[in-house]
């Protein structure tokens, strides 16, 4: 028998990086929210690498922040190192990455959530969903508590039927020896969910004082660190470095000789692993000619001696892991604190979801994060906030939010998942974004703050500051477009100093800024703004003027895409009724049920002829309706 444990608007099952964003976003939207976690000491735990951000992913963190989410704020308060990557490249691919203090991150996140008005935190293992009239209306825990709600978000990560594998040892477990969630997985199967088995892994951790850092290269943070959140004003002093070392022929020999003992190669692992996060066994086997692989030694926090050995993800038996480690310069005497392991888990085939992350089969139920076949904290957070927003929309009976591929990496991520599915754990890459020049690290606020504010996730105060920044950027761009600069000696010297050719005649400041060697800082010397502009305003002005040609080109592409996105497909369309569509396309369309012709055209197996036929059919439908009236 169950007991009624309470009525909520939104329930979030799981408190990982997707769960916390979902719960916080829903609560911020003003609906009564419950977050259930297996273990309240593990909220927003990082079971793998102690870092957040990086190319594409770092931009997602900024997008989450611009929408009013937590990840950026919390990492800004708890990092031990911050680095801007790709500084030598164009603005579109610059990305921030932080080394996290894992225990502190958990503490900080938990504390924010505990103090959130509309949010209740509760420990409990969910075993079943409450389904009424085909819709999800709540959850039941193993302690027989029945919680009711208008919508439910499942963010159970790699816990569903999780199985940890180390060499020939294999046991049922979530990450880091937490309890696996078995019954929920079975329950979803009973409900008709299509599940897929994925695999991921993590390297061993060693204790710091057994490492000889003198044999490694130091990897320091930035001297003048940038931050993820647009709200962060202060940097954390005393950053802690990471260290770089390499595997060698001895390491590879150990791996070769023990390959049969690796769970990956002994046949113990059935799940599909990600190509972009291979085990060291995989790297050595697939790239046998490579004499060495990079190994980064990353501290797991300020108040811990544990060091994460990035690059050595493995499912070898513990004694082989020890041998491997000890073949690496600097780690000759290292002691393992935790062994690396592989983990297999159930994921939901994401084409079963609408772009809102609501499950097609079960209205009111949303899934987000690693359960949807992704990999990475940031990918989880991005889905989490969207699922939270949309679960709240559902409870409030408001319009859902869908970001398109030109608005955010989050949009690219979700569109890829629900439209194309994935046959390996999905990671965001910059190359997945068609309009990456528009989806920059620096303009996430310009893209999404407005939306965050409308949803109530961004405070009025922050919104005002944003509007002011936006205005200052526009004004300064307009000013530079009109200011004529004469070829004075001062200016010529500046230009030549930057390696450019001197001017022959007067030029508009904006046009001068377009020259590759010129920067805003240089232009400012001859024509400073009357206003005291912040660096982020200047940066924005510089990027928007400098890359205007490329940005315009991207915008034209977006316009073309939008035309197809705006052609909506009626929800009740019967694909069997459309003659002439190829069989494969028909099957895919029935499965994905795209919302627009644009989305339909991105499904693999749907070719341009099918899209044309679909267009004609939809128009035909319109005529039918008109003639029926």
């Amino acid at each position: 028998m169950t007991y009624n444990a309470g009525q909520f608007d939104v329930i979030v099952v799981g408190a990982g990086h997707a769960g916390v964003e979902a719960a916080y976003a829903a609560a911020k939207r003003g609906v009564k929210t419950l977050m259930l976690s297996l273990n309240l000491d593990m909220i927003a735990f990082m079971p793998c690498n102690p870092s957040i951000g990086g190319p594409a992913k770092g931009i997602v963190v900024r997008e989450v922040d611009a929408l009013g989410g937590l990840m950026g704020k919390v990492i800004d308060k708890t990092y031990i190192q911050m680095r801007m990557l790709n500084t030598g490249k164009g603005p579109a691919v610059r990305a921030l990455r932080a080394q996290a203090d894992k225990p502190l991150y958990i503490q900080e996140m938990k504390h924010i959530l505990e103090n959130e008005q509309n949010l209740t935190l509760r420990q409990g293992m969910v075993e079943k969903l409450i389904i009424e009239d085909g819709e999800c209306r709540g959850v039941i825990t193993e302690t027989k508590a029945a919680y009711y709600a208008k919508s439910v978000v499942i963010t159970t990560g790699t816990f569903m039927r999780g199985r940890v594998i180390i060499g020939d040892l294999s046991y049922e477990s979530g990450p880091n020896n937490q309890r696996a969630s078995v019954k929920l997985s079975e329950h979803l199967e009973e409900l008709g969910f299509e599940l897929v088995r994925f695999k991921t892994g993590t390297p061993p951790r060693v204790i710091s004082h057994t490492i000889d850092y003198s044999k490694t290269e130091i990897q320091p943070g930035d001297e003048d660190p940038r931050h993820f959140s647009y709200e962060t004003k202060e940097a954390i002093p005393n950053q802690i470095p990471c260290w770089l070392t390499y595997t060698n022929e001895f390491t590879h020999k150990i791996i070769d000789e023990n390959l049969g003992l690796s769970a990956m190669y002994s046949g113990m692992i059935k799940g599909t692993g990600p190509r972009y996060c291979p085990s060291i066994e995989d790297k050595v086997v697939r790239f046998h000619d490579k004499p060495r692989h990079q190994i980064f030694l990353e501290p797991e926090g300020r108040n811990t001696e544990e060091v994460y050995v990035q690059g050595l993800s493995t499912s070898m038996p513990e004694f082989v892991q020890r041998e491997m480690l000890r073949s690496i310069p600097g780690l000759e005497n290292s002691e393992i604190m935790r062994a690396g392991y592989a983990i297999e888990y159930d994921a939901v085939v994401p084409t079963q979801l609408w772009p809102t992350l609501e499950v097609k089969k079960v209205p009111g139920l949303f899934t987000a994060g690693q359960i949807n076949g992704t990999s990475g904290y940031e990918e989880a957070a991005g889905q989490g906030i969207m699922a939270g927003i949309n679960a709240a929309s559902k409870a409030l009976d408001k319009e859902p939010l869908i970001l398109d591929r030109s608005q955010a990496y989050i949009g690219v991520l979700i569109d890829d998942l629900v439209t194309k599915g994935t046959n390996e754990p999905y990671r965001l890459l910059t190359s997945r974004a068609e309009y990456r020049l528009l989806l920059r690290h620096d303009n996430a606020d310009l893209r999404l703050t407005e939306i965050g504010h409308q949803l109530g996730l961004i405070s009025d105060e922050r919104y005002e500051a944003f509007l002011q920044k936006e205005q200052l950027v526009e004004e300064e761009k307009a000013r530079l477009a009109n200011v004529m600069l004469k070829p004075t000696d001062e200016l010529q010297a500046i230009i030549e100093g930057a390696g450019g050719t001197p001017l022959r005649e007067a030029i508009k400041a904006g046009d001068l800024l377009k020259r590759p060697e010129m920067t805003y800082d240089l232009i400012e010397k001859v024509t400073p703004s009357e206003k005291d502009l912040d660096w982020d305003v200047k940066e924005q002005v510089e990027i928007q003027i400098k890359y205007q040609g490329y940005i315009d080109k991207s915008n034209q592409q977006v316009d073309r895409m939008r035309k197809m996105e705006n052609k909506l497909i009626p929800e009740n369309i019967d694909y069997d009724d459309i003659g002439g569509i190829a069989t494969e396309a028909r099957q895919k369309l029935k499965q994905v049920r795209p919302l627009s012709v644009g989305q339909a055209s991105r499904i693999s197996g749907v070719n341009p002829a099918d899209v044309s036929i679909l267009l004609v059919y939809i128009e035909q439908g319109k005529i039918k309706r008109v003639s029926n009236q």
Partner: protein
Amino acid sequence: MDNDTIAAISTPIGEGAIAIVRLSGEEAITIANRLFDGINIEGVTSHTIHYGKIVDPATNEVAEEVMVTVMRGPKTFTREDVVEINCHGGLASVNRLLELALAEGARLAEPGEFTKRAFLNGRIDLSQAEAVMDLIRAKTDRAMNVALKQMDGHLSKLIQTLRQELLETVAHVEVNIDYPEYDDVEEMSHEMMMEKSKRVLKEIERLLQMAKQGKILREGLSTAIIGRPNVGKSSLLNALVHENKAIVTDIPGTTRDVIEEYVNVRGVPLRLVDTAGIRETEDIVEKIGVERSRKVLKESDLILLVLNYGDELLAEDINLFKAVEGLQVIVIVNKTDLDQKIDLDKVHHLAKGNPVITTALIEEKGIDELEQAIADTFFAGELDAGDLTYVSNVRHIQLLKQAKQALTDAMNGVEQGIPIDLVQIDVTRTWELLGEIVGDTVHESLIDQLFSQFCLGK
């Protein structure tokens, strides 16, 4: 995609004295006017026809004498502004007009797109919708088949090579971006990018140059007729020409006395080359020897080998078979009006699976079978006399031009010192455009390349 102006050849090519290039869309009249040397057709009354010349705006050269029909929407087939340019039915001229229209901003119509627009704009009623969809399906499938089948294997291979080169470059840049700390690969420099782009650009330009000379666009399947003297080669040529209203042209840039004849046999464009001296009724093998003639014949896409039904197989015939071994051959045993002396079993044996047709060309017998065999050879018999074979070539040229533009943009970016990840956007575009030529635009292959080329991961 609905408002742009589309253009296509809307008459079967090579089958009429007059051909029509049709434009439809907002810019149809403006585009046509830019090409038209005559009355300003932007000012004329709707549904009127005007005489003038089409001039290439780039060179000011007169391309064609034409009649231009101007029809403003909505009283047109598509309900949009429509212009029809009527010109001489020659393949070269009509293609040239289409190319000019595309160069001025029209987009090559998709298969069935005029009809589709007619429908979408409410011109066709509901009962015809199904038919429209069938039409799109049929035309597209066939166009794709044709495009793929017709594409010269060499061209396809070359484009794939170029694409692979671009893909590796793009993957290289992507690795630099997504794995900035990955030390196994050097940063793609502007110099490296320039060098690679230059190489690909050179190839694209060469292809375009070839297209310009008619090597792609106006080239049908180059077809040689061979056989001993007096077996009926001329009769065969005349039969094909007569049956199919050949367009006799002298192609610019080729030797004046070499006459090439185009015939459209059931949708298969044939270019009958008179290199072998058919007119002189001389035997190519006899003239230049087996090895050399093999070289010449290898350049043909199709060889029609003619034998005499009323004569025994001679050493020269056997030599001919040797010369064409491994090539695309149709064996024609002509003069069945005579008493049989030839050993047909032996002919079949020598033909090694190639089709053998018996004809009496003098009596116009067997021509149907021959034409069917030609069609079967190239389209598995699925193609009727179509307008699509050439369009796919125009499409190729258009895509090559766009690819050239994109790559040039990339190189300009390199010269201006634009960051490599921005330059790469144009390189990726080039790769995609070349992919459209060979029917492959799957984005996922970039990511596959990334992970097969580099050892990545944390």
